[in-house]
Structures are given as C-alpha cells and as structure tokens.
C-alpha cells in the first residue's frame, strides 16, 4: 500500500485564526501555487484542536493532519499553542500505538507574515504523506 500512481493525499489542516490562517491568506496574496491537498478548518486557536478531531479526521478518510499555530510565545491567547504542543506529543504516541506513522500528524508554526513558509510547509507535508501512501486504518488494525 505505498506510492501507487495517481494517489492524491487528503489532508486536514487545523489553522489558528490569528497567525496561521492569516499566513495562509498571505500565501494567497502572493499567488504562489501550492498543492491543493489540504482542506483548511479554521479554529480560533491551536489550543482548540481536540485530539478527537484529529482521530476523527483519520477515521473519516484523511491521510494526514497538520496543525498550524502561532510561533511559541506569539499565541493570540498567550499559551494555547503550548497546549497544542502537549496534545500533539500525546497524539503522536497514541497514533504510533494505532500503527499510524507519526509523520501523518504534524504540528508547525506559521506566523501571519510567513506566506512563503506556509506554502513550503504544505508542500513538505503533502510530499511526506504522498511517500507514506494512503492511510488504511481497517487494514492496519
């Protein structure tokens, strides 16, 4: 079940409203294309990302999940991104136990000004998940 030809990963991106979502808008303003595989879910803060959202995304067919937050120290709500980081490490462990590669769930930081970085992170993520191939939860169970 690896890189079959024509496989297009489906990825869910949780973006905090203040930095990362603005960074994605900035990338838009630059009109520099990036792969279309990430569907964005806007949350007010990365601290809102409940681990069950990530699990449910995988369950509903996502091959990868990316959580984008404000840089450490820059969270609009002071420390929501610290919670996101804690939850992400916990998720990585949990996903490992479920047989899901940890590369399928990435946490990164994109500021409102980092349009270029947003595009790069998306490209890297899509490439990484592309290499891993489709996620097939029932088979790996």
């Amino acid at each position: 079940m690896t890189t079959e030809k024509g496989f297009e990963p489906k990825i869910i991106g949780f973006l905090c409203n203040w930095c990362s979502y603005a960074g994605a808008d900035k990338a838009g303003g630059m009109q520099e294309p990036y792969p279309p595989n990430v569907q964005v879910i806007r949350v007010m803060c990365s601290g809102r990302v409940d681990p069950q959202f990530v699990l449910s995304a995988f369950e509903k067919g996502a091959d990868g999940v990316i959580i984008l937050a404000c840089h450490p120290g820059d969270c609009h709500y002071k420390e929501g991104n610290c919670r996101a980081l804690q939850r992400h490490s916990m998720l990585s462990l949990m996903l490992g136990q479920l047989g899901v590669e940890k590369e399928r769930c990435r946490l990164d930081y994109v500021s409102a000004g980092e349009g270029e970085k947003f595009g790069r992170v998306i490209r890297e993520m899509v490439e990484a998940v592309h290499k891993l191939g489709p996620l097939c939860l029932s088979q790996e169970d």
Binding site: A27, Q31, Y34, R48, D50, R87
Partner: protein
C-alpha cells in the same frame, strides 16, 4: 432547513479558477438541497444590497458565503444578515479566494477543492446556533494605584472626563519619585515646579471633586471583574485632617520626639509628627505612631495643643480603617525603585561613607533635601573629585540583564548640576554602554563631553571596578587596577519595580515578567494592558522609563478606560465564548488550570467549574481540555467542527 449558498465571482479573481456552474451542480447532490446564488462582487455596495434583498426574499435558515477570507469580510456579511433580519451567527464563510483560487493552478482541481470546502461549510452551518451578545451593566469609575507622574496624569484626566476616580497612594504625599528631585533631564526643568500645576489641579482644580485621594493607603483586596470590581483599601491613620490642616507646622515645632527621615534617605532628622519633606503636597504633616511618645504609653499631646486650627485637626485617636469602593477598571501606576547596590561586590555601597546611589544623590541635590541642595561629603567638605558609575547591575546577567534606559541621561544631568554648583570639581563617568536616545537627550550628553573637568572611561564588566579607600583615607575608584581619586561616588543602579509589586500582582492576579515588572498583554499592541482584563499599566511599574513616557502611559490607561466603559452604556459580551454544563462537569478543574485569562473558577458548592463570560476570550483551550466534554465552545462546538471535517473529506 433551507440553506442558501452565496458564491462570489470576485470579478475574475475567483471565477477564473472556480466554476460556479460546477458549484451549482454539486449543490444539487447535497442532501441539504441548498440554493445557490451567484454574485459578482458581494462585498461591494451593490453586492451587499443584492445579498440582503435575496436573504429577505428567500428567508433561508442558514447561509454559506463562498468568497474571500473571513478575516476580510466576515463582519461585513454578518451585518448583512442583521440587516436582513437574521441572526448573524447563522452564516459560515468559505475562503475560496485566498486559500483556493489564488493558490491552485489547475481550475478543475481548484473547483473540486472548492466543492469540498463548500460541502464542509454546509454541513457545519446546519449545526450553527443563533447567538446573542449579552449586555452587562458596568461602573465607569476607576481606581488608580500610585500617585506618581503616571498615576496623577491618569487620575486627573479621568476626572476631567467626568469619571469618579479613587487615587490610592501609599506614601503621605503625591508626586512619586520626581517630586523628590531638583531638576529633570533633558531640559533641566525644576521637577517640583513642573509637577506643581498637575498636583494643584489634582488637589484643588475644577475637577478635583471627582477625585478621592487617599494617601497613606493601600489596596488589600479586589473581587469581581472588568466593569464591576469591588476594591478594599486600607486607610492608615495620618492623625492630621487633610481638609482642615493649613500646613503651618506649629505641631512639628512642638513635637519632642525625633527620628531619621526615610524620605531624605535617612540623612536628616524629623519629628514624630512632621512633613515628609519641605513643600510636599498635600501640605500636611503626618504622625509616625512608632515614634510618637503617646504610643509609648506617655501622656504627650504637644502637637494637638499647638495646633492653631482647633481641637479637631490633630486626632491622636485615629485608627486604621478599611474602605470599600466599586469601580470598573484599575490603573496600576506603582512606579519603580533602584536595585540595591550593596548586592554588588566592590561598590562600597553601605560600607564606605561617600558612596551614594542615584536616588540618595537626587535628594542631596534637592533644596528640600537633607543638605538643602549642597553637595557635601560626610566629612562636610565639597568633593574635589566625583565618580559616576553607570550600568550598576544593568546589562549584567549576574544582576539585571536589561538596560534601564534612563540612567545615562540622569548621570549627565548630575554632571551638569555638579559643575554648576562646584565648577572646579572633576567628574569621571565610568560607563559600559552609553544610551541617550531620542531627540533631546544628546544635549546633556554633549555638555558632559565638552565639560573640561569631566572625562569618560569605559569599563567591560562591573567586576573590573572597585571602590576603595587607600591608606591616606582617600576614597578612590580603580578600573582594572588603574586608580583615580573619588571623594564622592554616585552609583546608577538598575531600575527595578517598586517594592510591593509582588503583593499587588498576587492580589490582582496580574502576571509579572521575569524581572518583576507587570507583564503587558502584548508587548507591542497592548503594552498598557495587563494580563487581566480591565487592569491597565502606566509608568515605570511596567518597565524603566522617564517621566515623559510615564505621563503618556498614564494617558494610555485613560484611553482604555474611556473607550471601554462608558456611563449609561452596557458592556457587550461576545457570544463566541465557552460555557460549562454543570451537570456534566466532573470537577477535575483541568479547565481552570489551562485558561490563560483566569476566566474559570471552581464552584465548590456545586462541585463544578464556571466560566465568566466577561473574561473569556473564546480561545477554546478549555473546551479541548475538558475530559468530560462538559464545555461548549460556542460557534466552534465539537459537533460543528466534526461536521466540517466530515464534509470536506466526503
């Protein structure tokens, strides 16, 4: 449920990449059977009108707007919903411009991605609920803590705007640090004269009636929250009625008990009942119980008998009281102090007789100070050499890593004032860095550089310097062994928060930074707001600054107060916040610990957490943290987000 999708072409911005026909076709396959309306520029005046008219005609239950970023126009389209008689929270936007059309090369791919995003929004919006902004009655009045430049400016301006202000000052006088100085950088303006009009207006001006000044007072408890705080203030007894005392000083003359005066750095004496120093405002003495003979069980009433204004002015029986005031906001203006230079080895502070810190030297320069403004050594001579050591404990990882910003400027002020009084005295500045920013500070610096009797010596670290006394009794400063006489040494220690800042921070729950200054909500955007809503920061309690900045910061606090709380206007509470369902709360209190705004408290009676909607910022961190799923994040509920995930993945 009737759902309307409004698709904006945005001219060719969106239309070029995303086919509206394909969206219409896809919508037909959605179980919700939404209708689709195409608009050319929905954010234009015509577009908004078309949108509103269509909403009125179609009367949908929920609306999806596929257009630009919600960061651009969510508020605009919410207003359109309101104009059409709908609840504004029944709309979801899909960002098909910035995040799809502009960044996807192939129109077929872009269209497919847009269909997924629209499907997600449709599934989400069906679960969205109408939300209402709640209105809360608030008190527009303010509490200002600290009557230095920042606090006085804030209190007076609020009073001028018609607000009632309680101004709490812990010393017996107003004016803060600079009222104790003779002259101020950069223009060598007389400090008490500069402050005089401000202090005069505060005490007796047209708007003084709006200010309740409490000297010798301190905050002891605060309950409530933004808009509705209750403050408890401890009023210590002055034993002299501020309203009736005329400041004649007869009581001082009569008083037999003597002690050292802390307000003159303990370098002069005072009576048990006395003024803090000459010329203070309010112009009334205060009695120190710990010195007064009466409090040592002796039958003295000399002061009371001496008062020409009658029996009631001096009240020897006065006791401490606690008063309660209701206010809506709080401005912290508790100022700064100096780092204890005796903590730094080799400086001779506290061990050598003629080493002074800058505040002690300010008092020596002052005509109301212990020497009446004369610069003299402890032996009573005019110094023929003075060393001014800059950066004492500043820019130093062993002490305070920051630059205190003001020291170089007052050091060059000292240079000017010393030379004016003692033209023959040599002055050596020992400095690490020289910081004279802005458009005015360079003048005193240039004056010092041109002064033929002064010189600059750069040193690397404070460990390279030592203040000593040689065998002949000559005090000297040696820099890496190179010694030079210094009859008088003036230290410029790091500026630190005023004593008691920690106590206030605990009392009000406001955070402090690693140096002990009150922490800003945001260092750039909201530098005059504390981490607690409705508690503002003004002046040197936030970081070292000069009087100009302190006054400006006082005005910033006024701005926040006036803009935030207005008489007769209620406070609108954002409905995008979190709420606990008491019946499901397991009482673990995890939410209390993760909330960055201390908006969540635990109600032991009901064994459940509860969230204060005024303080909640709606970040949703507690919602994600709650193991019992007992917290709802309004407008970002688990169900809504899950539905969106499902929709975009279908």
């Amino acid at each position: 449920m009737k759902i309307g999708i409004y698709f904006c072409n945005c001219g060719s911005n969106i239309a070029e990449k995303i086919s509206s026909e394909a969206i219409i076709a896809a919508a037909k396959t959605f179980p919700e059977q939404p209708y689709v309306t195409i608009v050319d520029f929905i954010c234009s005046e015509d577009g908004k009108l078309q949108f509103e008219e269509s909403l009125k005609l179609e009367q949908p239950d929920r609306v999806v707007v596929a257009a630009c970023s919600p960061r651009d126009h969510e508020a605009t389209f919410r207003r359109c919903l309101i104009n059409a008689g709908m609840n504004p929270y029944l709309m979801q936007m899909v960002n098909i411009r910035e995040q799809i059309a502009w960044v996807t090369e192939d129109p077929a791919v872009a269209t497919e991605k847009a269909i997924g995003a629209v499907r997600g929004a449709v599934m989400r919006v069906t679960l969205q609920q109408p939300l209402e902004k709640k209105q809360l009655e608030v008190c527009p009045d303010a509490l200002v803590i600290g009557a230095g430049p920042a606090g006085m400016k804030a209190a007076l301006s609020l009073a001028e705007a018609g607000r009632s202000v309680v101004l709490v000052e812990r010393t017996p006088f107003i004016g803060g640090l600079p009222v104790r100085f003779e002259e101020l950088f950069p223009a060598l303006e007389c400090a008490p004269c500069m402050l005089e009009p401000l202090m005069g207006d505060l005490l007796h001006g047209d708007h003084a009636g709006n200010i309740e000044l409490m000297t010798m007072a301190e905050l002891v408890e605060v309950t409530g929250f933004y808009g509705n705080f209750i403050a408890k203030i401890r009023q210590k007894p002055r034993h002299v009625s501020l309203h009736e005392c005329i400041g004649c000083g007869e009581c001082v003359e009569a008083c037999p008990a003597i002690t050292m005066n802390v307000f003159n750095s303990n370098a002069s004496e005072r009576k048990a009942i006395d003024f803090a120093f000459a010329g203070v405002l309010p112009n009334a003495p205060f009695l120190m119980e710990e010195i007064c003979l009466r409090y040592k069980a002796e039958e003295c009433r000399a002061c009371k008998d001496a008062c020409p204004m009658g029996e009631d002015v001096v009240n020897l029986e006065e006791v401490e009281t606690i008063v309660e005031r209701r206010i809506g906001s709080i401005i912290l203006a508790t100022g700064a102090g100096l780092y204890d230079a005796s903590q730094i080895a080799g400086m001779g502070m506290g061990t050598l007789p003629d080493v002074y810190d800058a505040l002690q030297f300010e008092r020596m320069l002052s005509s109301t100070g212990p020497t009446g403004g004369e610069i003299v050594t402890t032996a009573g001579n005019a110094p023929s050499s003075v060393a001014i050591i800059h950066c004492v404990g500043s820019l130093d990882d062993d002490h305070k890593p920051y630059c205190s910003g003001i020291c170089c400027q007052y050091a060059f002020k000292f240079n000017h004032l010393i030379t004016a009084k003692l033209p023959e005295t040599t002055i050596t500045h020992y400095h690490r860095e020289l910081v004279v920013p802005g458009k005015e500070a360079h003048t005193l610096y240039k004056h010092a550089v041109k002064n033929k009797n002064s010189c600059m010596k750069r040193y690397d670290g404070i460990k390279d310097l030592a203040v000593t006394v040689d065998v002949s009794g000559q005090q000297q400063v040696s820099a890496k062994g190179d010694a030079a006489p210094a009859d008088m040494v003036i230290l410029c220690p790091a500026v630190i928060p005023a004593e008691g800042a920690g106590k206030l921070s605990a009392l009000l729950d406001v955070s402090r930074d690693s140096f002990g200054f009150f922490r800003e909500l945001h260092g750039r955007m909201d530098a005059a707001q504390s981490t607690i809503k409705g508690v503002y920061l003004a002046g040197a309690c936030q970081e070292p600054m000069d009087t100009r900045s302190a006054m400006l910061e006082g005005m910033a606090g006024v701005g926040y107060t006036l803009a935030g709380l207005q008489p007769g206007r209620t406070l609108e509470i954002e409905p995008i916040n979190a709420e606990v369902d008491e019946t499901h709360c397991a009482g673990c209190r995890l939410c209390v610990s993760v909330c960055p705004y201390r908006a969540i408290s635990f109600d032991t009676e009901h064994n459940a957490s509860s969230i204060n909607a005024v303080l909640c910022h709606g970040c949703g961190t507690c919602v994600a943290a709650c193991p019992a799923g007992a917290i709802t994040g309004h407008h970002f509920t688990n169900e809504q987000i899950m539905a969106e995930i499902e929709g975009v993945l279908k």
